[in-house]
Symmetry: C2
Subunit: 215 residues, 2 copies
Amino acid sequence: MTRSPLDLGLYLVTDRAALLGRDLFYVVGQAVAGGARLVQLREKRACTREFVELARGLVALVRPLGAQLVINDRVDVALAADADGVHVGQDDMHPADVRALLGPHKLIGLSVTGEEEARAARGLPVDYLGAGPVFATTTKADAGEPQGLAGLARMAALAEVPVVGIGAITAANAAAVLAAGASGLAVVSAICAAPDPLAAARELRAIVDAARAGR
Amino acid sequence: MTRSPLDLGLYLVTDRAALLGRDLFYVVGQAVAGGARLVQLREKRACTREFVELARGLVALVRPLGAQLVINDRVDVALAADADGVHVGQDDMHPADVRALLGPHKLIGLSVTGEEEARAARGLPVDYLGAGPVFATTTKADAGEPQGLAGLARMAALAEVPVVGIGAITAANAAAVLAAGASGLAVVSAICAAPDPLAAARELRAIVDAARAGR
């Protein structure tokens, strides 16, 4: 199957603790149906065997729908599941090491917080940056200080690759996040914890599409 | 550098919490100097970047001394550090998936507890089994029920590959562990927490060598 082109417009980052008891596959399916084209499987508690099984299941779910799946932190899980790439944080494997293991064709994303990390990311073999937290978030305990829209704009200006904003992004602030220079919206709770994940994804996707049409 | 032949006789499994405040590299160096020929880096709390750094450092330490390093659970860390292999538990990546990622020449070890898991390990692409806990252990919270020497003997009899015993093995019970059918001794506290890790390793190594000479 040909890989879909990278579309960072609406990017779902999973959090099984935020699903309101709903099944992960259900919510991811709804998100993709609603317009998410990139999904990050983030698991901080699953054992490796379960993590691989989840990754394989999600690849099988999202790829036929034209979306891509990246794995948080675990390059081995991405390789075993033949996922589309890996998203790493500053404490995870160095992007150069990830690239050596994944080869030239897989996606690598890197989280950055602040101008210093955005500057340090220049020249690294990554495909996009996840810049944040834009606003104060409760879904990631170690997310760091909120950077605000101005901080996001500074990180985006420094970046050599597309940037997605992350951190308490909602339909209410999404247009401002895109206007600040983000190529897309990375969301957790706005979809995972939405009463209607499909409707939530569609609403966010419409904001992305409108911003693109207006550029 | 040519890889050393696999010698399971004395196998150190690291536990940074058991080092009595001493440096990991110091204790591993002493263990290898005392006769450990296989070292497993087990890290349950390190972030991935630190885990890779530790693994690279230990490869550089033990390989010139004729010992080999395997990584607990993390195939990506083993690949990034070019370690000699991976040791997995029942909840970690399936050995067949590990083998696919590591290729035919790296070591794979698998933990088994009880006859059922020993039987299920038959035909898997592993180089050795870590069978235990032989005795009741406090260094691994999820180690399961002690199997005793009789349980170890049953697991060893079922195995198609060499078996190392693990779980509260000391110089006082080491000869009995080997007599029960183990090819080697996997130890954590007996070296990591020993007042003199070099002397502790030498004492255990002497028991292994004596058992081999007597066979």
